[in-house]
Amino acid sequence: MPDQSPVTDEIFPQHTNKTYALVELMHGESPLVGKGPDDTVFSFPVVLLWEIVLLLGVTLVIFLFSLFKQAPLEAIANPLITTDPAKAPWYFIGLQELLEHMHPLLAGILIPTILVLFLVALPYIDHAREGAGVWFSSARGKRIVALTALYTVIVMPAYILFDNAFSLRELLRNSAPQWVAQGLLPALIILVINVIPLLVLWRWKPSTREVMLTLFTILLVSAVVFTLSGFLFRGPGFKMYLPWQMPNGYNPFDGL
């Protein structure tokens, strides 16, 4: 049987019956008893200097940005005059976009709850230690993420545009109850969009980590797509416009 132990175990054996040891005087800073060479440095002062550089850099960027770009302040709040469009803050605008396509219970409650539960449960589902500390864990992981991102970046805008052009709500207004047209069908569509890449991945015999890479990438790219759609492409009446063709001089960036 070939020896599987790492080469460092041969150089620094942990358990031997020898009564002598190969000892050499080394140039170094600290006693490393029972350990092989490590590639560490003292946090002081390297980490602290690193943090000070970041502190100065971040503050400088915020400083300069605040000098040139003023925070918006519109007219005083008036419950009688609705702004058009009325948009949520940008980090919730993805949910507002989702609300355009399905029942509020699904878009506003069920999907966000599932997303948060997915995030919380994630480390308990994918609990293998392998692949930690490396971007995308492996070259294959990187390819899975790239392909999933490409897939989502095509499918999700297509879904938004398609549903915007042929709204399920309008098409099935007289032929199906609301919970089917606005609840069941959109939920099925979203489910199918998520399952297709998993089925493709299944042929590669994926690890749990690779399944998670796929699901998280769909979630992330979808969130970006829905946020951009709601933020940039929705104008008065929350209708779709190209960002540079907004009517009434509406500028999405005024609402930041």
Binding site: P37, K87, L256
Partner: protein
């Protein structure tokens, strides 16, 4: 040894006053560098030694540190703004105008607060994306990932509650749209919305609730959660990149 024979530096570091502040000597040797990190309440959230790999910019992009810096900027600028802001629907908007027009550097302070808030939401999301794709949620870091997810939600909460405070059309309608989403939840939805707003509509009760959450409740919980989050990074073995460095060097069967 007389005082004159000592260098000026050791005269300082061995003085009664210095020793009452710092329980270690000048950090130019391994022992004092270790003690600097372990005996200082701020530094002790850091590990004493870090692997070179985890310091690499392209590994972490410093996103966690940047989030913490932005949080600090927000606390400082937020406290300055509190000196002028009044959480009343009659006086909030005039106070905003006053900050904008007559308070020295008032508009600049508000700009910094607003742009840092947007930046923090973005950076915290990017930090989560980085941690996910580097597999840094894997054991033993599961719990810290969960703390991180709750910090993301609290960051959104802090930003959302702050959004109402200017009491202009933008903030009023964004909060109306945002809280309407919460109202869609079955059974508890309308009650939840009413608890958040202190009434059926966004009014004085909502403003004082959002203000209290924004300046006291959420930031205090966040300070505790951030402390746990940072401390756990050290307790769980530093950045996950350390694990890779650790598995590459000699495995010590006694250490975990």
């Amino acid at each position: 040894m007389t005082v004159q024979s000592k260098s000026r530096l050791s005269f300082l570091t061995e003085s009664r006053v210095w020793r009452s502040f710092f329980r270690h000597g000048w950090p130019d040797n391994p022992l004092d560098r270790s003690l600097t990190m372990t005996s200082n309440v701020f530094f002790h959230l850091h590990p004493v030694k870090v692997s070179r790999k985890s310091l690499r910019w392209s590994y972490s992009f410093g996103l966690g540190v940047i989030s913490a810096i932005l949080f600090a900027v927000l606390v400082i600028t937020g406290v300055i703004l509190m000196f002028y802001y009044v959480p009343s629907i009659e006086r909030a908007y005039p106070a905003m105008k006053e900050i904008q027009l007559s308070v020295p550097l008032g508009e600049f302070t508000r700009n910094m607060h607003r742009w840092s808030a947007h930046a923090m939401v973005l950076v915290v999301i990017l930090h989560m994306v980085r941690v996910f794709y580097t597999g840094a949620y894997k054991p033993p870091r599961e719990f810290n990932w969960v703390v991180g997810v709750s910090l993301l939600l609290m960051t959104l909460g802090a930003s959302f509650t702050g959004y109402l405070l200017p009491w202009d059309q933008l903030s009023y309608w964004a909060i109306t749209v945002g809280t309407n989403i919460a109202g869609y939840a079955p059974v508890a939805g309308p009650a939840m919305r009413e608890m958040l707003l202190g009434g059926a509509d966004v009014g004085q009760n909502a403003l004082i609730r959002f203000y209290t959450l924004h300046i006291a409740v959420v930031p205090l919980i966040m300070i505790v959660a951030i402390s746990i989050h940072l401390w756990r990074v050290r307790k769980d073995g530093g950045l996950a990149a350390n694990d890779v460095a650790a598995s590459n060097r000699a495995a010590n069967p006694k250490a975990k």
